[in-house]
């Protein structure tokens, strides 16, 4: 029996277009408008506005505008890849948006200098000029002055 096998490369591609419903849709609409939203819960305002409260599973409440500034609660430094939001190495971070509970997962850009990253650092959203209602309407977070 021949012991070697044929193999070949191939690609799976899906052009998903997700319907998002009113809550996530409003959050994304807010991003398009340059405004960040959180969802009201019994414990406080949750940002991002998850549809269900993580502790109880209850539906979260109305969306309310929140600040676009916050504090880094954890981060990890990664090399930039083609297609990433910034063209040099950056951090993925959890950012506790001011006045909210929980933390938002997004990019923090410190010009490729990991020494400037620290838990507890203050950051603010850097908005794209052209916004379309996607998470990438926030290009990244950057050090708050």
């Amino acid at each position: 029996m021949t012991a070697d096998s044929l193999s070949a490369a191939y690609t799976v591609e899906f052009p998903f277009e997700r319907t998002v419903g009113p809550k996530i849709g409003t959050f994304l609409g807010g991003l398009r408008d340059g405004r960040l939203y959180g969802a009201q819960t019994e414990r406080g305002v949750l940002c991002p506005p998850l549809e269900f409260e993580p502790e109880t599973g209850a539906e979260t409440g109305e969306l309310v505008p929140v600040a676009d500034t916050g504090t880094v609660t954890s981060w990890t430094w990664v090399p930039s890849r083609p297609g990433d939001p910034v063209p040099h190495d950056f951090a993925w971070a959890l950012i506790a948006i001011d006045g909210t509970i929980g933390a938002l997962f997004h990019v923090v850009d410190v010009d490729g200098d990991s020494a400037r990253m620290a838990t507890g650092m203050r950051v603010r959203a850097r908005w794209r000029a052209e916004r379309v209602g996607q998470l990438s309407d926030i290009e990244c977070f950057e050090v708050a002055p």
Binding site: Y10, T11, G25
Partner: protein
Amino acid sequence: MTEPITTMPSPFRMDYTYVAGTGRSVFLRGLAERKLMARRCAGCEQVYLPPPEFCSRCLRELEPPFELDGRGVVSTFCVVSFPFPGQRIDPPYVVAYIQPHGAGTRLMHLVREVEPEDVHIGMAVEPVWVSDDELDTSLLSIRHFRPVHNGGADA
């Protein structure tokens, strides 16, 4: 108040490697040489085409490959009658389960060179191979099956 977004694009692209496996590779390499390589299970006497490495009834390694001529009968079939993405020929066309003589399993393939309404269960068919430069490690090395006109009796 903010006007909600209704949809978000979420394209996925994933690159993979397909590993055919040694058993399937024997079959695929045979196709590139105009050969239909089958293998028999010593346990249940069944002949597999295409053959895996092991009999899925007995879990025994199959015996060495041997060649079948590919003649067989239409076990059953359908007539694809409408257009949809991924088609290679214009409908209507016949997709059939073909029971090759000497094999216990069936092959799915096109039946052409016959009007769809003249295809019937039990019709004797034979493979039509592609030209040398089109031969490949794929069942597409068989362009299609066609009715046997010279001496191939229906089952």
